[in-house]
Symmetry: C2
């Protein structure tokens, strides 16, 4: 069912910590020079030095507000959409808000949404359903630190992931043409254990399970995930576009989650896309978990690659195992 | 602005692990007999033995579905609303779904919402805004394990917290009379550090900060939190009821978050409530974080204390520091 729910991305902001080239990463962890670009496709990414998720998110959020010409007091809800966090408690949104310029001044509710890598996509979907006369503006912030949970003996993840934050001010503007055309998410629970950090929650509690590189690092069964994606993504996107009056290949811009070089390759090779139709940031940012899609979107808006009136599909897979997509008219 | 957004709680389910009396806890941790009931107000609570958040949540969710006469395939969204988790990644909702009877069979999207202790309240609010012809039923699950993050040298928290899960099937039924009358949340960021678990996220990452009872346990600055509550709760509830055609004292049932004996006492002493108007479960369950409010609500519905047509306020404070409330007609 297509709805055309009004949602206007007023402005976006981003924050990236210090850049780290693949050559530096390779030298640091004894990985052969050139391995990262060849296998992960990542030339450079950014890793936190002193930054927290909270600080990065606050900087991206304040930047988005400034660009939109708005203050935090104009916002009805701060929604932090991501998979990593500074503290087990309180929620990340409270920490982001505290670090924002006017965070202590205004009493905007601060709530987290977690759909791992699809958190920004899910947040846009939730926002489009919640926006209305009573909730006119939502500030969505995806801020992720992936670099701390990496296992240096796993070259694939060590070279792949990056840190960063992106924020979007979205508003209810039924008089304009910006809207969500359609959105969909599905969780395929057979794949639940294919990507996870096992240690550090209640299942393997710190007290009983001291730090262990294997237990506390991010693991993904890359081949199984690609198999799940190959099996389910085409059917998912077919369902997604079933009632849309244009095809995925006729969508102006496609922003896939920057999961991996192979993941993006398999996805793009399923369709007959034009050059530059599928937007990438993997080479310069790596996989930044939930921040990847909004970082890519923000860059495309800033460069003019995505313009008002363009149709844009944000889609990807996430741990869980889920597939999600949102088709917007920017 | 009052909206009367349709939202019907079709059915609720709960799960509680093994009961633990205060006498047992006191014997276990060298706390004087009677201390818990006197100071925390908790006579008994339930603590997990082998259960995970996922298992407890799945049992509560399956029970709610069964009582509603529905299957997981009738649900449009599984929303896991809580502050604790089995794994840092993937999200808790994916784990709950995997553990449900038909979790692998259906592809219902599984997404987390975290507003710490107010997560169920926030989830009801989000649900009431999202429900409509396109999203007709949401399964909200609050499943919490508090017992693992307790510091036995802190008698206040050790005797106060309990584990458990509660789930609610909520539906869009514009023909009926069940609805959300009003809802509100505010985050007062000056209180952000008054309740937290510092260690175990990116800020104090396991690798650099081995398990330490102080660092990895839940801390609350009880007196500061009570001061914040005293200062802000009356104004918050005044704003909440500003346009409601009846007062908080005329609301049929009040379910405060079961934060602490003193917290509930201060709240109730602000108003002229009738006996049994304010519902309690602190004595039998302790503070179960986000599961406290729905556990209490489920019990009141089961016992007939809350009936169709009754007005009911769910409200409380949470780490962040936030105050939230939702006024429903059940």
């Amino acid at each position: 069912m297509i709805t055309n729910r009004p949602l206007k991305i007023e402005a976006m902001g981003t924050y990236l910590p210090k850049m780290k080239t693949s050559s530096e990463i390779e030298a640091q962890f004894g990985i052969p020079q050139g391995w990262s670009e060849k296998y992960s496709g990542v030339q450079q990414r950014h890793h936190v030095t002193t930054e927290s998720n909270g600080l990065m998110g606050a900087k991206a959020a304040d930047s988005a507000l400034k660009k939109a010409g708005l203050k935090l007091s104009d916002i009805d809800l701060l929604l932090c959409a991501g998979g990593t966090f500074d503290y087990p408690l309180p929620n990340q949104a409270s920490i982001v808000k505290k670090e924002m310029k006017d965070g202590e001044k205004y009493e905007v509710p601060a709530i987290d949404l977690d759909a791992t890598c699809l958190s920004f996509v899910a947040a846009l979907d939730f926002a489009s359903r919640m926006l209305g006369p009573q909730m006119q503006r939502i500030l969505i912030v995806s801020t992720e630190t992936a670099s701390k949970g990496l296992n240096p003996s796993n070259w694939e993840t060590t070279t792949l992931f990056g840190d960063g934050a992106a924020a979007a001010v979205v508003s209810y503007d039924p008089s304009g043409d910006s809207h969500v055309i359609h959105s969909l998410q599905k969780t395929y629970s057979k794949g639940v254990y294919e990507a996870m950090i096992r240690g550090g929650g209640n299942a393997y509690f710190f007290k009983d399970h001291p730090y262990d590189q294997e237990l506390h690092s991010f693991h993904m069964a890359g081949k199984n995930l690609l198999r799940l994606a190959k099996k389910h993504v085409p059917k998912f996107l077919q369902e997604m576009y079933a009632e849309i009056p244009f095809s995925i290949e006729e969508t102006d811009a496609i922003i896939p989650h920057q999961a991996s070089k192979m993941g993006i390759h398999i996805f793009t090779s399923m369709y007959d896309f034009k050059p530059n139709q599928v937007k990438r940031s993997l080479e310069r940012y790596g996989n930044c978990i939930a921040a990847s899609i909004p970082l890519t979107l923000a860059d495309c808006i800033a460069s003019g690659e995505i313009k008002r009136g363009d149709t844009c599909l944000l889609s990807g897979t996430s741990a869980g195992f889920s597939i999600g997509g949102i088709l917007i008219k920017y």
